[in-house]
Amino acid sequence: MATTNTVPNAGQLVALYERMLLIRRMEERLRADNAAGKLPGAVHLYIGQEAIAAAVCLQLKTTDWITSTHRGHGHFLAKGGDPGAMMAEIWAKRTGICKGMGGSMHVADYSKGILGANGIVGGGFAIATGAAFAAKLDKGDRVSVAFFGDGASNQGVFMECLNVSSLWQLPMIFVCEHNQFSEFTPAKDITSGEIVDRARAFKIPAYVIDGNDAQAVWEAAGDALARARSGGGPSFIEAHTYRIQGHLEAEDLMLGGGKYREKSDIAAWQTKEKDPVSRLHAKLIAQGAATEASLEALDEKILAQVEAAVKFAEESEPADPNLPFELMFVGQSA
């Protein structure tokens, strides 16, 4: 379906792998630190979906906009957010990217176009659409990307924003990460028809892809980006994937013995053939873009980065409790 040549080259694939692995390792560490009771708030992990954030965001410029979700660490890191500043945020430290005021569900770096993770399901659609409108008025080539889940696709604002984006031919890309669940509810229980058809109803070019195939995501996103940058208006991407972790890390406690999927369902998505990181790993080796040794070295580098991020977080000062009073307004106290 690609209308322009957007096939990633070897160097791009390695960079993509590196970013995906950074997300994976950061999240694994958050999982461990959460289990160890070190994090003040809940975390919603992105493990298993890394190809989507990385393959889209690596093609974005710093000046492009993204909005993210409650499951937002991956998007933040993919768009170039600083790992240490993210960790410090989740650890509620004053060196956090939001000074400890937002936490996991609100990591944002406006200077890098990251308009924030968002605790409101569907909260990012209109913010991204507004930024896309601004980009259009600027008459440059900025684009705006909204990441969201299958569950969020049932919020009316999704369709409203499809309508506005299409009408005004905004440089907007809707990236639906269909991980098959909305909390404990299977998507099919709450989703009528195919999500992609909702976009098509508004005459928006659409892609349905394997979201665990990093190259497939890269190509669809590249195509959509070319369209957006050249004034061709919005695109929609439905990337199929699977949520490996629980909805959030405290899930078992919340379920109280209840069950919404089988352990074996999860295992089936953790195989080498399904896991997005393993798949790209295999591809890099097969294509000769990397060697086992070079990827091993990369992993070590990344693990050191993660370690450094955690150390930075751990050693930083707690958040400044006076900030809420200063930060509600610009130049005006609360």
């Binding site: 708030g41 509620a92 709450i190």
Partner: protein, 326 residues
Amino acid sequence: MARKRYIQAINEALHEEMARDPKVILFGEDVELAIMGDARGLLEKFGRDRIRNTPICEATLTGMAVGAASAGYRVILHMMFSNFIYTGFDAIANQMAKLRLMSGGQAVMPITVIAAYGGGGSNAAQHSDSGYPALVNLGGLNVVMPATPGDAKGLLKTAIRGNNPTFFLEAIGRGGEQGEVPDGDYTTPFGKAHVAREGKDLTIIALGSMLKPALAAAGKLEAAGINAEVVDPRTIVPLDQAALIQSVRKTGRAVVVDEARDRCSVASHIAAILVDEAFSSLKAPVKRVTVPNVCMPYAPNAERGVIPNEERIIRVATELVRSKAA
């Protein structure tokens, strides 16, 4: 009487009321597996007609509650976190709160909306709001804030059996707290405040989640020679103004403790009632202990800095009793 957890008391009320009246239905996001704990076991007992997961579409859920209630059901709508009330606010403010008057009294809307409010769990601003003043201001909605397991069960039953839209606000993170719950079937009436502790030096009026720190504060104040009365309004709409006024007529001093942001809070409104209707009894300013006009920060230390607690109540109460009127 038996000691039960708050969440368990709510769960019992749901089970009992659904068993009692086949017209009671409950829907919301992830209620089947009871993501908030309070709906546990309902699906198995009452089936998917009466307990149903919905898509994520709060704007529709609140409107559907109006429609299903108008069509003869007793609807319990679970909104999970109170911030999501904002997402479904249109049908609450423009339909639920107004249709009865606009229809000249035709609409009857037996609706109970359940939502958890408040901070303290590092859930950050979008999962910690105490936005009930907006609901209280709308006029056509009952708003109840049970502080104890016993009241949670009794007020929820009253809400479900009642014929008016009622917001039943659970204090977040209070789910595990224990309290006495009467045996058997009972209801707790709306509009009846509860004097949780008698005293004569000042009245501490504490809403929902604030009752616990208020009682703790009263205990410490006693040790310091200050004898505080603690009154829990239990329901904000309808409000038992008479009880609040009566207490303040006795003590002459009042502190209102409310987890809402200060401006246009329930605390403000209660202070306004007291200065209007108990003016001649007041020996000192009416004080508010509220969340400042900020949204809830994520960091635990910053969160503790804004949520009213025992220490703040003690400090304000002590100053109020010790110092001359301002």
